[in-house]
Symmetry: none
């Protein structure tokens, strides 16, 4: 179906894959439905290569991974997507040509097509519903492919947190207000109450700007009491 071809092309472009091969597409080629579904991946549709059959489509391929839903009664290695993509990344980095093979939506791959592949990829699913369509499968494989490209972890920018002296300023201000408002009431309970309040606020990890914002808010609440009209 053109829609499935388009959905696969879209997932390919989302995750950095580009070479699409079609073996005997059912409704001929080009197929406007494929372009409609491609949503930004028209360049993959336009560059797709069409072959008369599966054997021809894989003529120069060195390793083929088939995605299968059904359990197959066949002696083939079976791997999950992450493992498959780790292998494929290493294979392609060594210059090998590797294919990810999808069958038609309804019938899946024929046994002789499966036989032609080296390894089967099964996507884990929940018992409630094991049926994935081709668009879903392509998204997951593409996503795992891209995840494997991140070999190097980039140090992430962590949010800034105000230094303790700025917190100290905030707490002094708040404490003086609360004392003046007789918030703590019973003197011997104050240490625990006040510690809890400080802990609660510290946990928020305010930045310097946020400490100033919070202090401004406290002042607004408070000053109206004194100077309020």
């Amino acid at each position: 179906m053109g829609e499935n071809i388009g959905a696969v092309a879209r997932a390919m472009s989302n995750f950095g894959l580009s070479e699409l091969r079609l073996a005997a597409p059912r409704d001929g080629w080009p197929n406007p439905k494929a372009s409609e579904m491609a949503a930004g991946a028209e360049y993959i549709i336009d560059a797709a290569k069409v072959y008369p059959d599966f054997t021809a489509a894989t003529h120069d391929i060195q390793l083929a991974y088939a995605t299968t839903a059904r359990e197959r009664d066949m002696e083939k290695r079976v791997v999950e997507p992450a493992e498959a993509m780790t292998e494929i990344k290493s294979q392609t980095a060594s210059g090998r040509k590797v294919a990810l093979v999808f069958g038609p939506e309804r019938s899946g791959l024929e046994n002789d097509e499966i036989g032609w592949c080296d390894t089967l990829i099964t996507i884990p699913t929940a018992v409630e519903n094991r049926s994935l369509n081709i668009a879903q499968s392509a998204v997951i494989l593409g996503y795992e492919w891209l995840c494997q490209q991140d070999g190097d972890t980039i140090a992430r920018e962590l949010p800034e947190i105000a230094p303790r002296e700025e917190w100290q300023g905030l707490f002094s201000q708040l404490e003086s207000y609360l004392d003046a408002a007789d918030y703590f009431r019973v003197a011997h309970k104050k240490p625990v109450m006040w510690q809890n309040l400080q802990n609660m606020l510290l946990r928020s990890g305010f930045s310097s700007q946020e400490v100033r914002t919070f202090r401004g808010m406290l002042r607004a609440l408070w000053e109206r009491r004194i100077g309020g009209s």
Copy 2:
């Protein structure tokens, strides 16, 4: 769109998630298009709960993860799907109620909805095509969720977090005080200022008791203005 709701339900059932909540669905509910797309997940569609708005839909939620495509100019933690699901698995194992939040396909989540969430999830994509639709995003998050179920998670004792409806009460109280104190001054600046204040406080992860403590503190600061001697 019903089709998107159905596609999300399908991905949920494929990967072992089941509780679907809808906030003000555009075309009403039930929606036959959702069931058509659900393909084996009709039981999720049938059990979906409908709420009048986003706030109501998250009333009892303790932590919310928003999926966003666009970069947001907002101080929120950002994580990738695998990291998010590791966290959520551990949070839910400890009994916390966690929501995965999706916005409407075209417009995405509103800023105030994003503000209401604790953490943003971004799905890595290739430069060629960064646009993922909701069905694709749901498949990837579901898949990562299921992948995380393989490892053993030891339920840790996590501090309790107040459900969203208690935060709503805190924010209503604070907003009324700040409005009365003319804290925001320039009306058009209020939305951003108020959003930032809410974000700062949400990050603290107050427990129900701490929400009450904080509200008591606000009241103490405020009431003295009115009734103060």
